[in-house]
Subunit: 364 residues, 2 copies
């Protein structure tokens, strides 16, 4: 087959995709070798051995630098599908929570403080007007998406602008950060997430649609119906970047678009990116079709309680580091996983080898 | 029924058991109420909401103080059952790893540095002589246990002395620590752990016996046989403190005894204690029969890859915070869980409420 033309040539999205290189396999091999010589039984750090090797591959050297300090970018946007009654939360909560993030009062702020991470809040489409504030980036593409139950959530051009806003935030934050962390806020965004999971994995709407922040049975049934009808408008399992962007525009959210761009941007800057839960997982499905190699830079912070998230992670081949039944978003689950990733890097860097410590190895 | 006489009256063990109070239910209720008013959907922090409430109950106030700084106590001892060929590692590795801990070269040191935790190493029964060193507490009860395949691993008096060594270490470290973390080192100690799990839960030896640091099939079969024969000498499922101590002496290890005491001591000082993996889980079974209320102060840091650990946690009703397929010991899995516990405390303390942040609640 002839090679496909470069997708989105001449755009920021196109140059970003072109800039993503695969991980450095030699550095990963060096990490595996060092892990086997460290004063511990081979393989005894379990999943953290994979994390350490992945970090070395990302950095292109062994040991890898510590992935700190981290920056968490919370992408906030609203959803026209809110009109379908898919959540008991009023839409104005999105803007109110943005103010809460900026005042330092939310869970993401508490966890970021614990982890020494910086919080950046990005308005990519909050419906209510927001006052300018320290720590708030105004990248509003539109005041919330259109209702995905009725038609396209956004235009292709809007989807592209939101993706590029995410890339820009990664480009702005990656240089001073050891790692990037995905965050999100948007009332009704688990509905769009479920639709994306169905579109990109072929999953059944009832299997991919969860209870979000806590909904009753009639609301859940309504939500499943909305997802099922919306997904029928999208060709299943988009396999080209253009198809992925079209599906994103049809049933996604502005924060999903921005998060997909944020993942691409992190990869283009060879920076580890920790994915939070259901919203980030859906966005990662988009990023994966836009640029498969970008996911080589990603860690799944946790497995959300939300139904579709596990389907997304299985599809992407990502094993979540935590399983705490979280269903909050904001980046909270990814921040909680940060010390695991950092500890893996620290072990690879600091632990003595059998030779250097004078410890006898096992026989046989 | 008449109340039983106080167990071990007049001994440090007896006074410690008597000093353990249950958690403060009023503080736990206050924490649950605050968690429901915090700016997040009710229940959305999943397991961490239980952790936050438990910390409040332990501290007797809401919010609870942060469980930092932590102190990890690594209890080291050797095992006579090593003679049965249950592990490919030479026995001298126990003492060599103690030297590695003291030099700061082991994984527990790397993780403790990451978590800002202090490492204390306690010799409760290393077979090889150890030079005095900063950070090493000499509480050697004997030079390794006797071979539990052939007869009692230790006398009742030795078991009691090792338990009391653990209590003493908790008493020494609790005042300056926000939490205590269990650590362990002892070649062949998963064999004694499996025997304790069988004795205290009634589990089948083949189900409770794992592959430790990595053993082949013939070694595993030998290990199962050793465990099965040893357990036959012990009345199953000891239900009194005296029976628990007898089972511990018959098939346990000196570090298991010390860890059981460490858990009791933490509880007596109303200090949260993070349990590491298979060795700590087996020791917690002993502590639980010595003093059921002591386990109210415990968190299970992770679920070890080692077979019997899950059985111990189910028996104790403890849900592990992490599942990373670790099988290293030293306290590594418990240290990795520390940021989760700290983050739960920080959220309870710092996150704004709907009222204070001006965020609208959900309808219905």
């Amino acid at each position: 087959v002839a090679s496909a033309p470069a997708p989105f040539a001449g755009t920021l999205l196109g140059t970003t995709i072109a800039a993503v290189a695969r991980r450095d396999r030699a550095a990963e091999r060096a990490a595996r070798e060092r892990l086997d010589r460290m004063t511990k039984p081979p393989g005894s750090l379990g999943v953290l051995e994979d994390v350490a090797a992945q970090l070395a591959g990302i950095a292109g050297r062994c040991p890898a630098p510590l992935p700190t300090p981290a920056t968490v970018a919370v992408f906030a946007a609203d959803h026209g599908v809110h009109a379908q009654g898919v959540t008991p939360w009023p839409q104005e909560v999105t803007g109110q929570m943005v103010a809460n993030f900026l005042a330092g009062g939310a869970v993401v702020n508490a966890f970021a403080a614990e982890m020494g991470a910086e919080v950046v809040v990005v308005d990519v489409g909050v419906a209510t007007p927001l006052d300018p504030a320290e720590g708030l980036l105004d990248r509003k593409v539109r005041r919330g998406t259109a209702d995905l139950a009725e038609g396209p959530a956004m235009t292709l051009e809007e989807a592209c602008r939101a993706v590029e806003a995410g890339i820009e935030v990664a480009t702005r934050t990656a240089p001073g950060s050891g790692s990037l962390v995905t965050g999100d806020m948007g009332i009704a965004n688990t509905t769009a997430s479920a639709a994306l999971v169905c579109a990109f994995t072929g999953a059944d709407p009832a299997a991919a649609t969860g209870r979000g922040t806590g909904i009753d049975d009639p609301t859940w049934e309504r939500k499943v119906g909305v997802v099922a009808r919306a997904v029928r408008r999208v060709p299943t399992q988009p396999s080209t970047p253009e198809e992925a962007l079209a599906a994103l525009a049809e049933v996604g959210g502005l924060e999903h678009a921005a998060l997909a761009g944020f993942v691409l941007g992190a990869a283009a800057h060879r920076t580890p990116v920790l994915l939070d839960g259901a919203i980030a997982g859906a966005a990662a499905l988009v990023a994966h079709v836009l640029c498969p190699a970008a996911l080589e830079y990603a860690f799944a912070g946790h497995l959300s309680h939300e139904a579709g998230h596990g389907l997304a992670l299985v599809h992407l081949g990502l094993r979540p580091l935590l399983g705490l039944d979280l269903r909050l978003g904001e980046g909270t689950g990814a921040l909680l996983a940060l010390p695991l990733v950092t500890s893996a890097a620290r072990a690879l860097r600091d632990v003595a080898t059998f030779d250097s410590a004078g410890v006898t190895g096992k026989s046989g």
